[in-house]
Symmetry: C2
Subunit: 363 residues, 2 copies
């Protein structure tokens, strides 16, 4: 199976509305091993539901997680609520959810070096198994949280769905399966995963790389990265004078510029050389321009899932496809606005986040 | 993706040793919702390990589940044990594990009627999501139990792996992905699952049907069904005079006979008409002979995952491929002998279980 490029027939005319990344840092407690940030996950799930059913008249939540939960005495099967099925026929617009690992999987991957390959070593093989256990556990919990909000979510673990890499570049992926799930009315939920690599033996495929690949082939209207900070800053956001970059434009030729806040001309050179994140972005685009086929080699080279560096590089490459990318803090009023798509027309002054978008030179 | 028939290149010359079905009734507490039979599962995992590493000199178990467990304070990461990696290089022979649902998934599937299709109904769609949550939860727990025994197990959920049906017959399945996982040294763990059906919308694909499909295309040396009874009886095994059928021969033309215990000639007709299970078996084979393409239509028509009727029909069809099938009680000395392959040469008199095998008319 090597269907990274699927024909137009595999995807219905109807376009996919949005691909959402649930950042690991936003939905897990990053410093506590395998601990979900339940409050954030619940709010994110509820916001996703609101965004998905916009325009639908039914607000009734039909829970779809009918399994036992620790600490909850009864299972919550709402079959009795299905009396008038017509009322419950909520149309969910086509979203794909991809989540990171946060405090799941990282420990197992970094202890064993799964991202560096070498599946013939017992430690790496054990780490591969352990990593997949941890990330599929998180995937199940996220699918359940979404299902409790009435979202018809379906876990589609990349390893099982035929995702594999060649020197960390996506080599195969069952995109037709994702499209088929979507068109059957489900919300596919993918995640960063340990996968086979035909050069290295194995590696970690980050959620960010998955998102770019999906965006390239399934052409969503927009992409939202939910994270634990308000967006992309000019220096680490913990620094007191960090400036949130509200809008970054990516040009046809791969050059980019910070559109908002505007930078005074005389300081431009100096300003840019101080932009830590943007230096990364620039490097990514430089690679994109000159070595189109090598750009992914830099991905996930120094940590197991990429971090902010990968996120911005991937986001810029998505924007170059003409797809708006919003990087926004999860579980805030700003994330709900981004998910709902209202930013597509104009960015309100009171919206906090970073938009990365494509701008034609003559635009 | 429609690769139910994969070319010989997709499968390495080295053949697959065994496909094992972990029956839902054997590994879960059938009468308690979503409750695993921990003792049985642990024994089954340990027996699987013994069977898989036969001939290997290392007996050291390297646990591969490094995740938190409820009620266990520490995660058991044995990275420190990887000092001398050479010693840990255990070769696992090629096994595929497929498990049933038992007390997972049944409730959700039967409440909503997922097996009957009709994905446009809100109740069915919700049940589809709820069923997948329940069975993937069980899959994760089984993968973890196997990993704790040092088996490099990898969950491959059928829905995500591109399994789908057409009027309940398998229409597509990523067998190349299963083969790739095997040849990378992993033990794929599949399960009965809710899948899309291109005629009905959706249905339940039972673990037994999965096993037959895998056996047909991957040609294992033998197949073991681990269940909660000693094998196939001539009437329900709860009845005091139930006779265990120790060996059933399936002929080239689809006819069958009970080879052991031998039936005296004069009672043969009467005996056979009293064989409840065998009437089923006969019906299955009758269909096989006269309506080759319709046989699967009868599968899972009256319950969501088939039960003993499906199991025997499927087992007989596997035997017709020339692959020995052992139906045996899980977590007993008999199951260990079946898993280890020692029955392939001859069936010891003290072994309890049912062998279904192919016998050429001239054999």
């Amino acid at each position: 199976m090597d269907d990274t490029h699927i024909g137009p027939n595999a995807i219905a005319a109807e376009s996919i509305r949005c691909i959402v990344k649930l950042g690991g840092a936003a939905i897990t407690c990053k410093n506590e091993l395998e601990m979900i940030n339940e409050d954030n996950l619940q709010t994110v799930s509820s916001q996703l539901r609101q965004a998905m059913i916009m325009g639908s008249c039914s607000n009734k939540v039909v829970g779809m997680d009918w399994s036992k939960r620790p600490g909850v005495s009864d299972i919550s099967c709402t079959v009795g609520d299905f009396g008038d099925q017509a009322q419950l026929n909520v149309d969910f617009s086509e979203f794909i959810v991809v989540h990171g690992a946060g405090s799941f999987g990282h420990f197992q991957a970094s202890k064993s070096g799964v991202h560096k390959g070498g599946l013939n070593q017992p430690l790496v093989k054990a780490g591969f198994v352990a990593t997949r256990i941890s990330v599929t556990n998180l995937n199940l919990e996220i699918v359940r949280a979404l299902a409790r909000e009435g979202i018809p979510s379906i876990g589609m673990s990349p390893f099982s769905s035929g995702w594999s890499t060649s020197n960390r570049n996506v080599a195969s992926a069952d995109l037709a399966g994702v499209a088929k799930a979507l068109h059957s009315g489900f919300i596919p939920v993918l995640h960063g995963d340990a996968v086979l690599d035909n050069k290295l033996g194995c590696t970690i495929l980050s959620g960010d790389v998955i998102i770019r690949h999906l965006a390239e082939h399934l052409k969503p209207e927009y992409v939202v990265f939910l994270t634990d900070v308000y967006g992309v800053y000019d220096c680490p956001p913990t620094e007191p004078n960090a400036v949130l970059l509200r809008e970054i434009a990516v040009d046809e030729d791969g050059s980019w510029s910070v559109v908002n806040p505007e930078v005074e001309n005389r300081n431009k050179q100096e300003y840019h050389s101080n932009l830590k994140s943007i230096v990364t972005l620039s490097k990514g685009l430089f690679f994109l321009r000159h070595h189109q086929h090598q750009v992914e080699i830099t991905v996930a080279a120094h940590d197991t899932t990429g971090g902010m560096e990968t996120k911005i590089t991937e986001a810029a490459m998505i924007a170059k496809l003409g797809i708006d990318v919003y990087i926004v803090k999860a579980a805030t009023s700003h994330s709900l606005r981004a998910l709902s798509g209202e930013l597509r027309h104009s960015i309100p002054a009171d919206w906090l986040g970073t938009v990365i978008r494509f701008s034609r030179r003559d635009g």
